[in-house]
Symmetry: C2
Subunit: 236 residues, 2 copies
């Protein structure tokens, strides 16, 4: 018996991340229109690139599972980890300005992501009323995020590490993961590159938090034992 064949590709319309990803502010009809243009579930292994700094800007991507890092090289040989990305988060907006990516996106573990090709963007903005607003909103979120990082850069090592852990915890929680136990997929070196500290200082600060009783640290596995205490480090 003939039957309509359902497309089994996970699309935006039935994605569990639709509340935190691009579709969050769109109507069901709009999401369906968006869904058609999105290439979903591309998978990568640890260390693989989603895109490279300097590459021509050709897509905006959404992390579907796993995590990634945004790495920027300033030309003088210094690498900085701009951000760590979790499922539902969008990347690539930095490439719009000069039509090439301003940083590299690299998988920190096995990872799936979706792609919105840049060629479809202008058409989508015309066809889907809400999409321009949502894209701008996501950009605005990225601006806010960068700005709070700039502000955090003035603070002490303890505050930096505490803020990073709390921020990660909050974001994991809002995605349905445990807020108190998680794997930071970064080495101490990478944590340092993200926070503007040396790897030794990161190590010492984590050890200190463990001694106080705020954390249990086993290499990359972090257990937050006193979220409140950790929070007070930078609200005090």
């Amino acid at each position: 018996m003939d039957q309509m064949v359902k497309d089994f590709n996970v699309s935006c319309t039935n994605c569990s991340l639709d509340e935190i990803c691009l579709p969050r502010g769109l109507s069901q009809q709009e999401v369906e229109n968006l869904s058609i243009e999105v290439k979903s579930n591309i998978s990568l292994q640890k260390g693989d690139y989603i895109y490279r700094q300097g590459d021509e800007f050709n897509m905006v991507a959404a992390i579907k599972s796993g995590s990634a890092k945004l790495v920027s090289n300033d030309g003088a040989g210094n690498e900085h980890i701009l951000n760590v990305l979790l499922p539902g988060e969008l990347i690539g907006f930095d490439g719009l300005f000069q039509n090439k990516y301003n940083c590299s996106a690299i998988a920190l573990e096995n990872l799936c992501y979706c792609v919105l090709p840049v060629g479809k963007l202008e058409g989508l903005c015309a066809k889907i009323p809400g999409i321009a607003r949502e894209l701008l909103k996501h950009s605005s979120e990225a601006i806010n995020e960068s700005q709070s990082q700039v502000m955090a850069s003035k603070s002490s090592a303890e505050e930096k590490v505490a803020k990073f852990l709390i921020n990660l915890s909050d974001r994991l929680k809002s995605r349905g993961y445990s807020a108190v136990q998680f794997n930071i997929c970064l080495t101490r070196q990478e944590l340092g590159e993200h926070l503007g500290l040396t790897l030794e200082t990161v190590s010492r600060t984590l050890a200190q938090f463990q001694n106080i009783g705020f954390l249990n640290v086993q290499r990359k596995l972090i257990e937050i034992k006193d979220l409140q205490g950790l929070r007070q480090i930078f609200t005090a």
Copy 2:
């Protein structure tokens, strides 16, 4: 004799800043459509607010003359100057995400600006094909700017001050002002709040640059005597 009365309001169509401001990527027809919605030439005095942190997001603004600073308060009493704004630069995108401004914009001297009301935005995006792209591009530029500030925050006091001066010099030059002599409208305190340094360190670093022969410093008036030398501080 009856004659068409020309509107003498300076509008986007005949603004000298059209190559660096919002209209930069739009066709003449598109700029005319944009121009209708833009309220131009609002003037302020030193210290006045363009908008305040926490205010409802209701417009994107473009500096027309004079300069402004973006100030963010982190709630723990720390103020940070996110950026200094020059003619032709757009502000307010940070407000899109949460529908309220993430920082305050304050005039550093007598200042004129134009306003694009947020209510007109969605309509404009639909009516003017290029406008969504241009807005996104400006957001992307803001992201890139913030990201390079994050990276710069790791560097030494000398590098920070040198980068700030070079950056300002470049932007002034592209706007037709002198690249080698200008008035930084910020106090040492404010410079410090922008660069993540104390006012004393800023003062000492400027004095040092003067001793080397890179600068002539007379309070807020800066003369760059050796742009090349200044540049080498952070390219070396």
